[in-house]
């Protein structure tokens, strides 16, 4: 019996040994390896994963600093908008707004991370999988070309975005680079742009001319050309941009939507004016993060609407820019001398009469101000709807990406705390861009007639629509929500004194350029372009209507003390603030490889 036990125990131990090889192999569950993607289906799956990065947000791998809408760099850093909210929240944006960004700023780290670490990295992965699949014969070479065109379009887009923020100090990473960590970010002049254009040229040579009805989010040939044109314009390469713009116009595939606002409404997502759109969807997953989390903070805070978190409020300077003269034309030099009347410092219970000065009708689609109906949310109540007017000014967060009250929960998120997230697509490039960029080319060339006609085309469309609903109340009883008693709002009347006229002529190319620049501001305000536009125009002979970028921004900061009494005090914009520093965290990880931009060293 004892012997039997000994044998038994020994046997058990041996059994333990013998099965160990199999027993000790545990592969990860719920994930897979690269080789399963060497097929059309696999490439589609990886491409979708790459497309997903164009939102400029990715759950919490990045937070709000990488938004494709560039509300921080393009808008808050410019004269278009304020960080908003209150000073203590998202302090890295204070530094962006005050042009005091240090290399340790978390927002710029987000932008680098998303563009290069997620966007470019994934695009390169796809390109390699495409090559391998083609070599394996699992896809045809025609398929390979089509897929590669999409992947290269996306790679160009991520590089374009990174270049907006960091300039040319980017490592150039093609899919053939074995170890991207060894690639320096010091480049020959024009090398980054050339890399972008090489990708885009490949894309426009190979992408289909027409939008894929089943997959409207895929880029077309013209999307690639449009992005190419914008990339050239960053360097004022007008001659190179011109044929691309002309090609898009002459394709006849695009037209301005009848109404300006249709570029900012969910129901007209992917419309005829749209050239490349960032697709947003909600309520498929918790927190609806497949919409644009990058602007997740930028919704009205508190009060009746009550969302998160009151960031990105339009500036008074921007509002003033919509003032027009008796001819309905901009007041180029005097617009910011006095403020269009605002309710700063007034509580909602106090009397306030909105300004009766004539204004461009695009104002009240771009800005929401007190006493003017706000989409279908009711009469803007002023201070009651603003998180902290003394720190963010009197205007609601920039409303272009906002949705209608009627769409709440069906097209906006029902979960999470960024409750303004909605299904409104961001029109990354639309036909109006093409027309005004073409106008800019014409102005530069001295072709004032073309510039005039294109600018007026945009202004004519702008005149076609205005916010309706004249509010008769000067003090809003808190009891009435949202439209007041019957008769308090006359919906047959425009909400304000809207006026917009076409230019009759441009005296010379300088005047044409000035008008084109102004028009771009009015048309694209708060869409994250202004800072970059000022930056490139600063290199024109006549700069921005004769003023430098520093003149404009420092003047904006000085006069802004009328609204926010101290926030911009001591903030000075200089040439060293035109590009943001390379993130310190990445410099630390690639010592001797990455270099800081010289002006930030």
């Amino acid at each position: 019996m004892k012997k039997l036990s000994i044998i038994l125990v020994s046997l058990l131990m041996v059994l333990n040994f013998s099965c160990s090889e199999e027993f000790l192999t545990k592969a990860p569950l719920g994930s897979t390896s690269e080789n399963v993607f060497y097929s059309a289906k696999g490439i589609d799956a990886l491409l979708t994963g790459t497309y997903s990065m164009v939102r400029g947000s990715a759950l919490w791998d990045v937070s709000w600093g990488a938004s494709i809408q560039n509300w921080t760099y393009g808008s808050v850093a410019s004269d278009d908008a304020y960080k908003g909210s209150e000073v203590g929240d998202q302090t890295p944006v204070n530094d962006i707004e005050r042009w005091e960004v240090q290399p340790t700023n978390g927002y710029i780290a987000d932008k680098w991370r998303l563009c290069l670490g997620m966007g470019v990295f994934r695009a390169n992965k796809v390109l390699n999988v495409i090559k391998q699949s083609e070599a394996d014969g699992t896809i045809t070479s025609a398929q390979a070309t089509q897929y590669a065109a999409e992947a290269r379009f996306l790679r160009a887009l991520f590089y374009f975005e990174a270049r907006l923020v960091f300039g040319d100090y980017l490592p150039i990473l093609s899919e053939d680079i074995a170890d991207p960590a060894t690639v320096s970010n010091k480049n020959a002049d024009g090398a980054v742009l050339a890399f972008i254009m090489e990708d885009l040229k490949y894309a426009w040579d190979n992408l289909p001319p027409d939008r894929d009805g089943a997959n409207v989010g895929r880029p077309t040939k013209y999307a690639a050309m449009a992005l190419g044109a914008r990339a050239y314009l960053q360097d004022l390469k007008y001659a190179e941009a011109k044929p691309l713009l002309d090609g898009i116009i002459s394709s006849g595939k695009y037209s301005l939507m009848p109404k300006f606002i249709q570029n900012f409404e969910i129901e007209t997502n992917n419309n005829d004016e749209s050239i490349f759109e960032i697709q947003a969807n909600v309520n498929d997953i918790n927190e609806s993060l497949n919409a644009e989390m990058g602007i997740g903070l930028n919704w009205p805070h508190g009060g009746d609407i009550g969302m998160c978190c009151g960031f990105h409020q339009p500036s008074q300077n921007l509002v003033n820019a919509y003032k027009v003269d008796a001819n309905g034309l901009p007041m180029f030099d005097t617009f910011n001398n006095t403020d269009l009347a605002n309710d700063q410092g007034k509580s909602s219970a106090e009397d306030f009469v909105p300004a009766t000065d004539p204004v461009d009708p695009r104002l009240d689609f771009t800005v929401s101000r007190r006493g003017i109906p706000y989409k279908d949310w009711g009469i803007n109540r002023g201070a009651d709807w603003i998180r902290k007017p003394t720190e963010g000014g009197p205007y609601l967060p920039c409303p272009k990406p906002f949705f209608k009250k009627a769409e709440r929960y069906s097209l906006s998120t029902t979960t999470g705390w960024q409750t303004g997230i909605n299904a409104n697509n961001y029109r990354y490039i639309r036909y109006a861009h093409i027309l005004l960029w073409r106008a800019e080319v014409a102005a530069f060339e001295g072709d004032v007639a073309t510039a005039l006609s294109l600018v007026n085309q945009i202004r004519t469309r702008a005149a076609a629509d205005k916010v309706m609903g004249k509010v008769k109340l000067t003090k809003l009883p808190a009891s009435v929500y949202p439209w007041g008693a019957t008769g308090d709002v006359d919906f047959t009347m425009p909400a304000a004194n809207y006026m917009i006229g076409n230019y009759t002529a441009f005296a010379n190319k300088e005047e044409a350029m000035k008008a084109v620049q102004w028009e771009q501001r009015l048309e694209f305000a708060t869409e994250g372009m202004r800072f970059f536009d000022l930056r490139r125009w600063d290199n024109l002979p006549n700069k921005i209507g004769g003023k430098s970028m520093a003149d404009i921004l420092n003047d904006f900061a000085a006069k802004d003390l009328r609204i926010r009494t101290s926030f911009m005090q001591g903030a000075t914009f200089g040439p060293e603030d035109k590009f943001w520093p390379i993130p310190q965290g990445q410099l630390d990880l690639q010592p001797g490889v990455l270099e800081q931009r010289p002006e930030h060293q």
């Binding site: 799956a45 209150e86 697709q279 497949n290 508190g302 009550g306 979960t415």
Partner: protein, 1052 residues
């Protein structure tokens, strides 16, 4: 050396034979005691009793006295007095020597130990009322740092001898032979003993899992021939919060806001307080700033949720008073044990209900245990252990985060009332009220949040005595746990950032671990003085874990019974995954004791783990240790009058850590609906799922190894009244697994840990106890102190010498950092050299944009220059290490007094030299958000009219400047503390009374915990449960509760 000594001894024996004496040594029950040393007093002549307790000794004819000694028993001298037979009855030592200590895969007698092992007794576990076993060992043993979470049922973070790695540094727990964390789901009354294996020589038998120390928990078992014994305990009492933040009331708050306007040079302008020279406290805050009589506050207009009306709370809401309560705690415990001739049993049932000190929070635990052993014949024995635990916890238990009820209570402004005029919740939706949640509402709406945790833990074993001294044992253990959680989202319309759609999410997961260990152990004493014990074995462990999570929103009714997943209408979301790992090991240990004086131990374990690639799967972990009971040497005979026992110990060992995640060697892609999906089809409500590269694998990675060297001694003095244990140790982790960060351009994917780092912990542990009596023996007392010190240092972190890792990021600010030469982690930020008093002083200082001015901090310029020195500019380069969360030492002091039938226990615990970053200060002292402000902000900030001189200011000017809030020495506070953790007074009813009622024992006691704390720390509690790279960041955690309990213990 021991060989030489034994030779000498044997020679001595050979030359002195003249007379033969024999005898038998038994214990008090009459059983023979083998191994007793029998010596002729004054000579080197001696022997050891055999297995039957018998001895024969040749002595000199004039020999007078024999000395009998045995570890764990009282030594005694017996006169020979001409007899040829001298028997002895040995009595067990009263102070617990001879105690059996559970070690890895076996037991040892305490005096035989060669490694650093501390034990915790059942009595020590009673000095705390915490439901978590590991919370209760705080301060009871040296070398162990315990920080407890204070939420109901809160668990503790345990670090044994410092922090061994930047990865997971929790010890391995083994409960009744089954690897398993006790968490908060073990009934402390079930525990027979806890052994803490602190050094690698004792932990090496656990191989790859022993590097952070091992905690072996053994539950109670019956004993053979033991009459049934029943113990019934009832305990009940209340718990209260011990602290709250000192915040401004409404008038003070308004004054502070006015002060801030003045400081900023702005005209006051507040939607509630108006624009005057002094703030006007309104009658209502919603509608903003309304006064009584205003038509907008007419209650007939009230419509929930569209038109709420909030009255101003002019006195100010004390949010802490609103959320704190007297919480009721109760416990009922029944423990039964006994045994017959061939079988033993022990079973128990326990119900513990611990309400939280915050409203609507609760922790209920039900535990059942059955342990049984049966002896079938002379050579075969089998048994089992089984524990069933069910935990039911409720409410919002969020801890140490800015979104918890504790934190919203400091974030909410005082003027906000708890309820609006109709009794619905009021909140920050009133103007300029910031974005705090109403903490009362948060707790109320979370009252049905419910976690249920069931666990079955146990083992079954068989044990065969194959031959004399050779025992084979096979144990199959299992540990199964199931967690279910339901969390509700209830609209919070009163909030400034409301969530207006209700929802419910349900999570569930299960974890199943089994282990099968087979051991052969051998115990034999040769030639009466060579005692050998050895164990060899194998063990296989496998764990599977699977989780699922689902949620829906928009429920027709908010009745929690109605809110099931099926009844949610939209936003149907779900997720889940699984993981598994396995381990296979062979191990062995040999102990050799010579004459109960010289002890040697050698251990080796070879582990194979699924966590590593095939090539690196196996690792070997050896250890060796030795001890010398020097007091038993003849040359120490002169010290016998005061030194009862002294043993010197030394040990070295290597053990491993495999806590690096499971799939380190695999490069993977995954489908991801959050970060790889896109509505490429233009859908507004669904996205196409895509894939992303998710993980970079590394197949070269292997174990992290920790080598510990430990030297120590155990001493008993003055008739075992004074007992001292001292250890000094050095613990070095090499091949430390570090997730070497990769640059973004190499992909934002999970990165593998690689064997690159080195971490050093050095320290010493002291345990001292003294017991004696006073007043002729009527007053007995026992004082026990523990003292632990460690110093942690990273010797090497990464392949890049200069690699720094920033962590502990809160609100976009980095608070901790670690790198080569630092401890893990340290606080990081600017050095503040006071506050600028004059413009001239500010102008003269290193440039900092527009920040420098009177009333602002003077940040020290330390770096950035070409020579590495100051560059005349304050930049991110000027940040440096500014303090450590690690204590210089922690100490416990336990005092027991017994007088007649009364007993008193006092237990103090203290920590010295540990710092905390008070992140709450950023909210309430600096006004990061528009929320509650501290008294200091108004009365002690620079420029405050209440200060007689600005030189006395403790805070910079109240202007909400975000640069003043940069991480700096201003936020690092000394969190040293001394706390009376326990005070208990008991009365045992005299046996004479009980005998009549056939009651074995009856005891009443009253117990108070955490009666006082001495600290300079300004936050709620200097004792913060935090770990890893965010260690020491106080965001507002549940404070230690004070409790008062009454208990009855009845034994039958």
């Amino acid at each position: 050396m021991s060989v030489v000594l034994s030779m000498v001894l044997l020679v001595g024996v050979a030359f002195a034979q003249q007379k033969s004496i024999s005898g038998k040594v038994t214990d008090e029950s009459g059983s023979p005691v083998p191994g007793v040393t029998v010596m002729v007093v004054g000579t080197t002549t001696g022997t050891v009793t055999d297995l039957d307790g018998k001895y024969t000794l040749a002595v000199a004819a004039d020999a007078q006295t024999l000395h009998f000694s045995y570890i764990g028993m009282l030594p005694q001298d017996i006169a020979i007095a001409g007899k040829s037979t001298v028997d002895a009855v040995m009595k067990a030592d009263v102070v617990g020597v001879g105690e059996v200590v559970v070690v890895g895969y076996g037991t040892r007698i305490k005096e035989e130990l060669t490694g650093a092992i501390s034990t915790v007794s059942t009595e020590q576990l009673k000095t705390s009322t915490a439901p978590s076993v590991m919370s209760r060992i705080q301060g009871q043993v040296s070398g162990v740092t315990v920080t407890s979470a204070n939420r109901p049922g809160g668990d503790a973070t345990i670090r044994i001898r410092g922090v061994g790695t930047t990865g997971e540094s929790s010890p391995l727990y083994v409960i009744d032979g089954v690897p398993s964390g006790p968490g908060n789901n073990l009934n402390p009354n079930d525990i027979e003993s806890i052994s803490i294996l602190k050094d690698a020589s004792s932990a090496a038998i656990y191989g790859t899992r022993g590097a952070n120390g091992v905690v072996i928990i053994t539950t109670k078992r019956g004993k053979l021939n033991q009459a049934p014994s029943v113990n019934f305990t009832v305990r009940g009492g209340i718990k209260q919060a011990s602290n709250k933040y000192d915040l401004l009331n409404t008038q003070e708050y308004a004054d502070a806001i006015w002060l801030s306007y003045r400081n900023k040079g702005e005209a006051p302008n507040h939607q509630q307080y108006g624009t005057g020279a002094t703030p006007r406290i309104p009658d209502y805050i919603k509608p903003a700033g309304a006064m009584q009589g205003d038509p907008t506050v007419d209650p007939s207009l009230y419509k929930y949720p569209d038109y709420q009306i909030y009255k101003a709370n002019k006195q100010g809401t004390d949010w802490y008073d609103e959320i704190y309560r007297n919480a009721v705690v109760q416990e009922y415990d029944l423990n039964v044990s006994g045994g017959g001739q061939n079988a033993t049993y022990s079973f128990s049932g326990n119900y513990t209900d611990e309400q939280g000190i915050l409203d609507y929070t609760d922790f209920k635990r039900y535990t059942f245990r059955v342990n049984a052993d049966a002896k079938f014949n002379k050579w075969f024995k089998a048994g089992e252990s089984l524990q069933v635990v069910y935990i039911d916890e409720k409410g919002n238990l969020g801890d140490n985060g800015e979104g918890t009820p504790i934190s919203h209570a400091y974030r909410a402004q005082p003027i906000i009332p708890v309820y609006d005029i109709m009794g619905n919740f009021a909140g920050s939706s009133a103007k300029e009220m910031g974005n705090a949640e109403n903490p009362v509402a948060l707790l109320y709406r979370g009252r049905n949040n419910n976690g249920k945790w069931a666990r079955v833990l146990g083992n079954i074993y068989g044990e065969a005595t194959l031959m004399e001294g050779l025992v084979a044992k096979s144990l199959l253990g299992f540990n199964w746990g199931q967690w279910n959680y339901k969390g509700y989202t209830i609209p919070n319309f009163e909030h400034s950032e409301p969530n207006k759609v209700n929802g419910m999410s349900a999570d569930s997961n299960y974890r199943l671990t089994w282990n099968w260990s087979n051991t052969l152990s051998y115990n034999k004493t040769f030639a009466e003085i060579h005692k050998i014990s050895a164990v060899v074995g194998t063990e296989a462990i496998e764990e599977k874990y699977q989780w699922m999570s689902a949620s829906r929103s928009q429920y027709f009714s908010e009745d929690p019974d109605y809110m099931q997943l099926n009844s949610g209408e939209i936003n149907k979301d779900n997720s889940g995954n699984a993981e598994e790992w396995s381990l296979f090991s062979v191990f062995g240990r040999v102990n050799y004791d010579l004459m109960n004086k010289y002890f040697l131990e050698a251990t080796v374990r070879r582990d194979g783990s699924s966590r590593f690639s095939k090539a690196n799967r196996f690792g070997t972990f050896p250890a060796a240790s030795a001890a010398w009971a020097i007091s038993e040497e003849n040359f120490m005979a002169g010290t016998k009058n005061w030194l009862d026992f002294l043993k010197l110990r030394a040990g070295w060992g290597k053990s491993g850590n495999d806590q690096i995640g499971l799939y380190n060697s695999y490069t993977t892609f995954e489908a991801n609906k959050y970060t790889a999906s896109y509505a490429i089809d233009g859908s507004n409500t669904s996205a196409i799922t895509g894939f992303r590269p998710s993980r970079l694998g590394n197949t070269d990675v292997s174990w992290e190894a920790t080598r510990t060297f430990d030297v120590g001694f155990d001493a008993n003095m003055f008739g075992r009244k004074l007992n001292v244990t001292f250890d000094v140790w050095n613990r070095k982790t090499s091949d430390m697994l570090f997730e070497e960060p990769i640059p973004n351009v190499s992909g934002v994917v999970a990165v593998p840990a690689i064997n690159v780092g080195e971490m050093l912990n050095k320290g010493y542990d002291i345990e001292v106890s003294y017991n004696n009596t006073l007043f002729g023996g009527e007053l007995k007392y026992n004082i026990a102190a523990t003292f632990s010190h460690y110093k942690n240092e990273i010797l090497r972190l990464s392949r890049d010498e200069n690699r720094v890792i920033n962590a502990g990021e809160l609100r976009q600010m980095v608070y901790t950092r670690f790198t080569k030469g630092s401890s893990f982690p340290e606080f990081y930020g600017y050095i503040v050299d006071g506050i600028f008093q004059t413009q001239a002083e500010a102008d003269a200082h290193a440039d900092f944009g527009s920040y420098n001015k009177p009333g602002h901090f003077k940040f020290r310029d330390i770096a950035g220059g070409a020579d590495g020195g100051p560059d005349g500019e304050i930049t991110a380069d000027d940040r440096t290490f500014i303090g450590s969360p690690h204590p210089d030492f922690t100490a416990g002091l336990n005092i027991d007094l017994t007088y007649k039938n009364f007993d008193l226990n006092m237990f103090f615990y203290g920590s010295y030299g540990n710092k905390l970053v008070n992140h709450v200060s950023r909210w309430i002292d600096y006004g990061m958000f528009n929320g509650g402000l501290s008294k200091k902000a108004l009365y002690e900030s620079w420029g405050s009219p209440y200060l007689s001189s600005n030189a006395d200011a403790t805070l910079p000017m109240l202007d909400f400047n975000d640069i003043s809030q940069y991480p700096s020495t201003a936020f690092v506070e000394d969190a040293s503390f001394l706390r009376l953790k326990n005070l208990r007074l008991g009365y045992t009813v005299p046996q004479t009374i009980l005998n009549k009622a056939q009651i074995k024992s009856l005891r009443f006691y009253v117990q108070a915990t955490n009666l006082f704390t001495i600290t300079k720390y300004s936050g709620l509690d200097p004792e913060l449960n935090s770990s890893g790279s965010s260690m020491g960041l106080d965001q507002g955690a549940w404070p230690t509760a004070r409790s008062y309990t009454f208990g009855v213990m009845l034994g039958l």
